[in-house]
């Protein structure tokens, strides 16, 4: 058994995975995405020495590109390129959730500023504007009134790239100063945390505090279904608690960060990830 971990930088998560591999005596290589050069018409034989490649690159675009190349060369990767592509894009995630009837905040899409204002006012203030790509709570805007809407849209139209001219308008959920981050590995929600913050953005990257969230049958069922509709794998599901409608799936992350979630939950997340990868490799061998 030999695994490769694709990285851009070695963060706490990658160190935990490397430590777990070392403790389990699993041969592994750490591959820096910055050092890669692919000749697309000549599959590089060196990738065949790995039973699986676990993508941990911090750059979503680089990671997806590598996954596409490796999959086309027949290399087993985690998560798959299709899953990663869906999760990297909030529009694709929302569409997948809606197709499966999974509860999610109401979302509108517009391209023109005037139509975006119309959409915002259809939902009613406040609303949340998000870039369709991006992470860590960056560039989210809670729009409380028309003045703010016009200002943010002018900034996006003037300063943003073409991706910021795709306006993803989400209803604001009056969540209880927290959201839920649930970790799904295969067909099981292995643990979950509450992310609590006085700020309306509740990413731990933005200072939210993690505490254990019990995995109820309802949460487990919802999160496993959500993971399956984007293709399944090793996924972090962000869930909002709506006072009227209950649990709503907000986003799904394909390259999950978990450093703050091991202590409050008591779950060995990196080893659970490796168990899933190794079982996938073993199933392939038995086929």
């Amino acid at each position: 058994m030999r695994l490769a971990i694709l990285t851009s930088r070695i963060r706490v998560e990658e160190k935990l995975l490397i430590d777990a591999l070392t403790r389990r005596s699993i041969a592994h290589a750490i591959i820096d995405d910055g050092e890669l050069l692919f000749d697309l018409s000549h599959p590089d034989e060196r990738w065949q020495q790995y039973d699986a490649v676990l993508c941990r690159t911090v750059s979503q675009s680089r990671g997806l590109a590598v996954l596409n190349v490796l999959e086309s060369w027949g290399v087993r990767v985690y998560n798959s390129a299709a899953v990663t592509a869906t999760c990297n894009d909030k529009l694709l995630t929302t569409l997948a959730l809606l197709r499966a009837g999974i509860p999610t905040p109401r979302t509108l899409l517009a391209f023109d500023a005037q139509q975006t204002i119309r959409g915002i006012e259809m939902l009613g203030y406040p609303v949340v504007l998000k870039p369709t790509t991006g992470s860590w709570g960056r560039l989210l805007a809670r729009i409380n009134d028309r003045d703010a809407a016009e200002a943010v849209l002018e900034h996006q139209e003037t300063l943003g790239s073409y991706q910021h001219h795709i306006h993803y308008i989400q209803e604001h959920i009056a969540k209880p100063q927290r959201d839920i981050r649930a970790f799904v590995v295969g067909d099981r929600t292995i643990c979950a945390i509450y992310r609590t913050s006085q700020h309306w953005v509740t990413n731990t990257a933005r200072g939210a505090v993690a505490s254990n969230c019990p995995v109820t049958p309802e949460l487990d069922s919802l999160c496993v279904r959500a993971a399956q509709v984007v293709g399944g794998g090793i996924l972090a599901i962000d869930v909002l608690e709506d006072p009227q409608r209950g649990l709503l799936v907000n986003e799904i992350n394909a390259t999950m960060e978990f450093r703050n979630s091991i202590a409050p939950t008591g779950v060995d997340i990196p080893n659970a990830m490796l168990d899933y990868v190794l079982s996938g490799v073993q199933e392939e061998v038995l086929r």
């Binding site: 930088r9 680089r62 991006g134 390259t255």
Partner: protein
Amino acid sequence: MANCPECEAEITIQGLIVGEIIYCPDCNAELEVLHLEPPAVALAPEVEEDWGE
């Protein structure tokens, strides 16, 4: 021992991994371990728009 490119503080990189992100104990600059032998660190790259989970 490596030196911080920002403040020239001495940085111990024993037990670290190439690519690991550390903070300078003197100036708190975010640094990336480039080599273990000879020891070398550089300022870590700035966060880019597509970075994340």
